[in-house]
């Protein structure tokens, strides 16, 4: 079977940052592979190692910069990658339906049996692309999966969905399916030096809208990001000043007043 893993390069904001318009100043951002997608990549690679999957293809929506990140997925064992981007997308705050249209076109070319994506992207935390994609392409799905066993012969995946409050739902999902992967599903590996070398030779196919038979209108977003601001702090915390020793001293006082360590 063929596994498609959706990965996203996410921006992380440093301790000090400046907001410029509706975004963060470029110099205050660091880019990394989305934490949830790291677990999805690992799940795909493990299926290949167990001979359940014959091929693991990573797909990302992102500008050229994101090739560095998608190469991490290749270094960890994905066979090849597809990167979708178009100049028409740079100004957009892509909505779920737009992303789904792009991924749908890739699914049509790749014809996977299983799509693994992260529960959410750490930057915008929308948490919707995988499940919306499933509906569009007519796949079954399960969201927030923290345990996975694929029974390819039986045509099902047995998953645990991690619910709130320490309860897991045990569900049998028909294949083909989209599963959104929760952290903790496995132990994502570090890329080995050999893996990193091999990744340099693996293919990353860049696709523009026209390559996918899509027009800019078809992926136009219904959403506009109109404001970004630092939330007003609702905090009435007493911030304890001073060097580590002084701060610890004052905190110790507070804690003793509360009866701690008595």
């Amino acid at each position: 079977m063929k596994v498609l893993v959706t990965v996203k390069e996410v921006a992380e904001v440093g301790d000090d940052f400046a907001i410029e318009g509706t975004g963060i100043a470029e110099s205050d951002l660091e880019y990394d592979l989305n934490e949830w997608d790291d677990y999805a990549v690992e799940a795909g690679v493990q299926l290949a190692e167990a001979d359940v999957a014959d091929e693991v293809v990573a797909v990302t929506i992102g500008p050229e910069r994101s090739e560095e990140t998608i190469r991490m997925a290749l270094a960890k064992g994905a066979d090849r990658a597809v990167r979708v981007w178009d100049d028409a997308l740079t100004e957009e705050f892509l909505d779920v339906a737009g992303k789904v249209s792009l991924l749908e076109a890739v699914v049509a070319e790749e014809e996977p049996d299983l799509v693994l994506s992260g529960v959410q992207a750490a930057d915008d935390s929308f948490g919707a692309t995988g499940v919306a994609l499933a509906d569009r392409i007519g796949f079954e799905h399960a969201a927030v999966v923290n345990d996975l066993e694929v029974a390819a012969d039986a045509g099902v995946a047995n998953v645990h969905r991690e619910l709130e409050g320490g309860v897991e739902e045990l569900t049998e999902v028909d294949l083909p399916a989209v599963l959104t992967v929760q952290t903790g599903l496995n132990e994502p590996r570090y890329a080995s030096l050999r893996g990193i070398r091999q990744a340099q030779r693996k293919e990353i196919a860049a696709k523009e809208l026209s390559d996918l038979g899509l027009s800019a209108e078809e992926v136009a977003s219904a959403l506009t990001l109109t404001e970004m601001y630092e939330p007003e702090s609702e905090s009435d915390a007493e911030m304890i000043e001073g060097d580590a020793g002084e701060a610890a001293g004052r905190l110790a006082e507070v804690l003793r007043e509360k009866g701690v360590g008595a």
């Binding site: 930057d123 499940v131 959403l223 630092e230």
Partner: protein
């Protein structure tokens, strides 16, 4: 009224359909918050609030949900527990019947499992995890980005949309209303149900119950390495406290699941909660915001944990924690 009418009258008179959440016989808190958010939205849209109650003991649920501001409660009896296929079919059928301008769903784990599919199938723009919204001829949603470090406003084009709301952001609706309770006859397409729930499993049991502890020293990803855990263990010992953690520590296998505080772990309400190197993500805060006194030690002055802390130290845990141990042992 059909969707085309709504589109031409600019959403005026647009009804709101809110889908409640329940699990294993109980309505979840977010259901009552959905009523508050849903009635606010219905008022802004000049329409009425309808609730959908799908599966389980719908009659009892409907009675509990009859709050002021709810016009009608549509009950769908098929199924016991949450099945995203049943939910999706029910909401789509209700949408066809009621043509609401907005469908509001919870951003819960089950919400994540059907809301995007519903929005996609009905071709509705979707905004998830709303913490606030306003409506002035069009919907503007407030939502957070970058781990709650910034808030954003997202404007939605069009008169019909789907929205999911974050739990704990709207007050729970109270009082008794006079909603019409209307059984909704759904013809389930069984063949389209391709995910079958086999059962449930409780996880995170074991020797320690962190929800019983009076004082918790809770460690997050700021600790960097497994070897460094000894530092916070020593602190917990010095304070006579119990050690708990945020999720990544458990994901990494450094501490067992029963130590995890948060949405998918334990809810704790100790006298004192000391968060060490924890950023304060919403799913973490959901599990500890009820603590009597919250102390946070974090290098990042913008970390959201400081918003709910009573005492904060902006500093390096590797400097502060040894000094604190010294204070209690020295």
């Amino acid at each position: 009224m059909n969707a085309a009418d709504l589109a031409t009258d600019g959403g005026a008179g647009g009804d709101v359909l809110a889908v409640v959440d329940h699990r294993r016989g109980d309505l979840r808190d977010v259901s009552f918050e959905l009523i508050t958010a849903g009635s606010e939205l219905a008022e802004a849209l000049g329409g009425e609030l309808h609730l959908a109650v799908v599966s389980g003991d719908v009659e009892r649920f409907a009675e509990e949900l009859d709050r002021p501001g709810v016009a009608a409660i549509h009950t769908v009896t098929d199924g016991e527990e949450f099945d995203h296929g049943v939910y999706q079919q029910a909401v789509e059928a209700l949408d066809a019947d009621l043509s609401p301008a907005a469908i509001v769903m919870p951003n819960s784990v089950n919400g994540l499992d059907y809301a995007p599919a519903v929005a996609e199938a009905l071709d509705l723009p979707l905004v998830t995890d709303a913490v606030d919204f306003s409506y002035d001829g069009g919907l503007s949603v407030t939502r957070e980005m970058y781990g709650s470090k910034v808030e954003t406003t997202v404007d939605v084009a069009g008169d019909r949309f789907a929205l999911t709301i974050r739990g704990g952001e709207w007050p729970a609706a109270e009082g008794t209303g006079d909603a019409a309770i209307e059984p909704f006859d759904l013809e389930i397409d069984e063949a389209a149900l391709g995910a079958r729930v086999q059962g449930f499993e409780e996880v995170g049991g074991g020797d320690v119950d962190i929800s019983e502890a009076e004082v918790l020293v809770s460690v997050g990803r700021g600790i960097e390495e497994e070897e460094n855990l000894d530092l916070v263990r020593d602190l917990a010992d010095a304070l006579g406290a119990t050690l708990s953690s945020s999720r990544p520590i458990v994901d990494n296998g450094w501490l067992p699941k029963n130590r995890q505080v948060g949405q998918s772990g334990k809810v704790v309400t100790p006298k004192v909660y000391i968060a060490v190197g924890i950023s304060g993500a919403v799913q973490h805060v959901a599990g500890m915001k009820g603590s009597e006194t919250i102390v946070a030690i974090n290098t990042d002055p913008n970390a959201p944990i400081f918003d709910i802390a009573d005492y904060g130290i902006v500093g390096d845990l590797f400097d502060v924690v040894p000094e604190l141990i010294e204070e209690f042992e020295g």
